[in-house]
């Protein structure tokens, strides 16, 4: 019983260390409604900037309404869009994050 508990604790601790190294740079994006525009802040979980990375505002029928890149403050602004849409950070295949229109935080 004690041995099993020790084994589990050690495995969890070690996996925590190694998995955090492996997952060191997952992208994220958070959007909120600014005074007029939608403001999104992007980045990576290791603290690095998303500057220069493509971010698109795409309607639900898959039409790209606006395509921009994150600025040197790792943020981007989109003009309001009247309809259902999502914002997509695209750092390459398999490195994308979506923010749905109803997940945009109120001002």
């Amino acid at each position: 019983m004690y041995k099993a508990s020790l084994r589990r604790t050690a495995l969890v601790a070690l996996s925590g260390v190694w998995s955090s190294l492996a997952l060191a740079h997952f992208p994220f994006v958070e959007c909120h409604q600014g005074t007029v525009d939608i403001v999104c802040q992007g980045g990576f979980s290791d603290g690095s900037s998303a500057q220069g990375i493509t971010v698109d505002l795409i309607s639900y029928d898959e039409e790209i309404i606006a395509s921009k890149t994150f600025n040197d403050a790792s943020s981007v602004e989109f003009a309001p869009y009247d309809g259902e849409f999502y914002i997509l950070l695209d750092a390459g295949p398999g490195h994308t994050v979506e923010v749905d229109w109803n997940e945009i935080k109120a001002p």
Partner: protein, 178 residues
């Protein structure tokens, strides 16, 4: 003469002085104790002890077959501002490994190939996916695997999250009760 004075000044009769060398020797036991756990963990990452701690199942994806496993039977782990992440492993069948260009994994149906989810890293027989798990994920959500062939063809398979990772369902229930 001067050496003798120095030695006298070190208080060689102190118990701590005499035993600290032996205590530092004991530190060498720490890696010895942890080595079996480390080797076991490396065998999980390398695939020597199977695809993952919990085998989920195998499904046909068009002409291909894919097997999915949970790397550890654990709740998702917090990865800073990116949120909670959960790791799954997958293996392609021997005959299809060369035909599949990439495999993607996400929660819920992808809108397009661009939004197919996280990409699998590693050998086709032991790909690893670190997938974000939003805290408001529905308990009846499904895992969607998208397989992209070198010929441009796409195949998709799904697993109910409840079946794929009971530990994640338990975690979501706890998060949503708060």
């Amino acid at each position: 003469m001067s050496n003798a004075t120095t030695k006298k000044g070190r208080k060689t009769d102190s118990r701590w002085f005499r035993w600290r060398f032996h205590l530092s020797g004991l530190l060498m036991l720490i890696p010895l104790v942890l080595a079996p756990f480390y080797i076991e963990l490396m065998s999980v990452f390398g695939g020597a002890s199977g695809l993952g701690a919990r085998h989920i199942g195998t499904q046909a994806a068009g002409p291909w077959q894919i097997t999915l496993a949970e790397q550890f039977e654990q709740a998702p782990k917090l990865d800073g501002p990116a949120g909670y992440m959960k790791t799954f492993n997958a293996a392609l069948c021997q005959t299809c490994a060369e035909q599949v260009k990439a495999v993607y994994l996400r929660l819920g149906k992808p809108r397009s190939l661009r939004t197919a989810g996280v990409i699998g890293f590693g050998s086709p027989y032991h790909m690893s996916f670190s997938m974000p798990v939003p805290e408001n994920t529905a308990l009846d959500a499904e895992l969607w695997l998208t397989l992209e062939g070198w010929d441009g063809s796409l195949q998709q398979v799904q697993w109910p999250l409840r079946q794929a990772s009971p530990a994640t369902i338990e975690f979501l229930q706890q998060q949503q009760e708060l």
